[in-house]
Each structure stands twice: as structure tokens, then as C-alpha cells.
């Protein structure tokens, strides 16, 4: 497949309460093999997916939050978090995992993957995409 498309995975729901967050991540990981221009967006309750210090022992489910830290290794480094969604939930970037990727072109310098964007900016980014997956 020669043509590259812009894929955005939109995550809107909190983890564990429903399976959408995890089954979204499964598509992202499989999709990484297709070498498309991939980005992830977290908004609404989806911002809770990225919170640090998740502990699922009390609910008997697998804690899949460490998987987000591996996204950089899959060359997924555009992770958009909607500013308003964070603020509405009393969260700041400090409440989220510090996700990084290594830039091959700059001697593997570690760079931040998370980009804080406004609702308007995120809307513009969505408009640029070829394919939107909404979870």
C-alpha cells in the first residue's frame, strides 16, 4: 500500500467502565503496522485514560495504562489532549502520564508526545484527517 492517509483515533470515554478505551488501543497498536500518519486525540472523559497512577486491583481488571507509554516505540508521537476537557475535570497535564518518543533525526532525543490543544484547534485537526476512528 503506497498511499499514506491521516488517521486519527478519537478517545472520548473513561477507561474500565466500558471496553472502548482498551479496544481503541488494540486498533492503534495493530494499525501501527500499516505505516499511516497516525494521531490520537483524548477528549471528554477520554482524558482519564492517560492519568498517571492507575490502580485496577480493586476491580479485577487488567491495568492497561502502561501501554500508552509504549506508543512512542510504535512511532506514534502525536497525542492531542483537549485543554477544555482537562479543565472541566479539574485535571492538569501533571495528572497525566509523561509520554515521550525518541527522534531518530536528532540523535534519538527524547521529546514529549502529548500536545495540549484547544477545542477549536482539535476541531481543525479533525477536519484535516482522512479517517477518523471514534471510540
Amino acid at each position: 500500500m503506497s498511499d499514506t492517509k491521516k488517521f486519527m483515533y478519537i478517545n472520548r470515554k473513561a477507561p474500565y467502565g466500558t471496553i472502548y478505551a482498551w479496544e481503541s488501543l488494540e486498533v492503534v497498536l495493530i494499525g501501527a503496522a500499516f505505516e499511516q500518519d497516525v494521531s490520537l486525540a483524548f477528549l471528554d472523559d477520554g482524558v482519564f485514560q492517560l492519568t498517571r497512577g492507575q490502580d485496577t486491583r480493586g476491580i479485577g481488571m487488567k491495568n492497561f495504562s502502561p501501554t500508552y507509554a509504549a506508543l512512542g516505540d510504535y512511532e506514534i508521537n502525536k497525542i492531542y489532549v483537549e485543554k477544555e476537557s482537562l479543565e472541566e475535570r479539574g485535571l492538569t497535564l501533571d495528572d497525566l502520564q509523561h509520554l515521550v518518543w525518541e527522534d531518530e533525526d536528532e540523535d534519538y532525543a527524547e521529546k514529549d508526545s502529548i500536545r495540549l490543544v484547544s477545542r477549536t484547534e482539535l476541531g481543525d485537526l479533525m477536519a484535516e484527517q482522512d479517517v477518523l476512528f471514534n471510540f
Binding site: 498511499d3 488494540e26 486498533v27 494499525g31 499511516q36 479517517v131 476512528f133
Partner: protein, 130 residues
């Protein structure tokens, strides 16, 4: 136009799979090409041949099967989602040591790559359900 349809809800509880069915049927009748219908999340439950709805109700599974056979549509259940929810074909039964199968005719079980490929190959990816 070439379309891939993604169905994320099971039959009966939500209208999504009905809407997806009617959309798919209408698209074909209008002359569009359906590259694939991909069933994900609870949508995989559209592919069990063991459903027995009341006789005066629509048979959603049978309707999908007939549409697929009539128009030669590729209908795929996501394997990871299907394993979790107990949708089994011959190969999956053997691989996972299950004593039965329940996949309906016209459906096949395959990986999420088929969904991503649908997004790449089609002009539009149309999603039904949450």
C-alpha cells in the same frame, strides 16, 4: 464511491446495526461499492447464527447474511472482540479448544488489520454505534 462500514453495536439493544444494515443496502442499491463491513466491539454479536428472534420481529443476523450472499460483501468479525464475546468459527474452535461454533454464513473472523485496511482502501469509513 468505495465504502467500508464499521458496526460497533450488537443487534436489538440499539438501533445502530439496523441503521448500518439499511445504509449498506441503500449504498449498494445506489451503485456504491462496499469494500467491507467490519464488526467491532459488541457489533460482533451480529454474526451469531444462534439468534432466534420472535417470528414477528426482524431477523437481523439473517438479514446481514442474505445481504452478504446476494451482493458478495466481505463481512468480518474482529477476532479479538469475537474471542472475548464467544463468537466462534471452525478455525477458532480448533485453536482455542471450543466444543462448538456459532458464526453465521456470510461472516468470517479476522484481525483488526482488516479494519485499518478498510480505512486505507476506501473513500469513506462510515461508523455506526458508539
Amino acid at each position: 464511491m468505495k465504502l467500508t462500514i464499521q458496526v460497533n453495536e450488537g443487534p436489538y439493544q440499539h438501533q445502530s446495526s439496523d441503521t448500518a444494515y439499511f445504509f449498506t443496502k441503500a449504498a449498494i442499491e445506489k451503485g456504491h461499492e462496499v469494500f467491507r463491513v467490519f464488526f467491532y466491539h459488541d457489533g460482533v454479536n451480529n454474526g451469531t447464527r444462534l439468534t432466534t428472534p420472535p417470528q414477528d420481529d426482524r431477523n437481523i443476523v439473517k438479514r446481514w447474511t442474505e445481504l452478504a450472499q446476494e451482493h458478495n460483501i466481505d463481512m468480518v468479525l474482529c477476532v479479538a472482540a469475537a474471542q472475548r464475546r464467544g463468537l466462534v468459527d471452525e478455525g477458532e474452535a480448533q485453536r482455542n479448544g471450543k466444543d462448538a461454533t456459532n458464526i453465521a454464513p456470510g461472516f468470517r473472523i479476522s484481525g483488526l488489520g482488516q479494519l485499518v485496511e478498510g480505512g486505507i482502501q476506501s473513500d469513506r469509513l462510515v461508523v455506526f454505534g458508539d
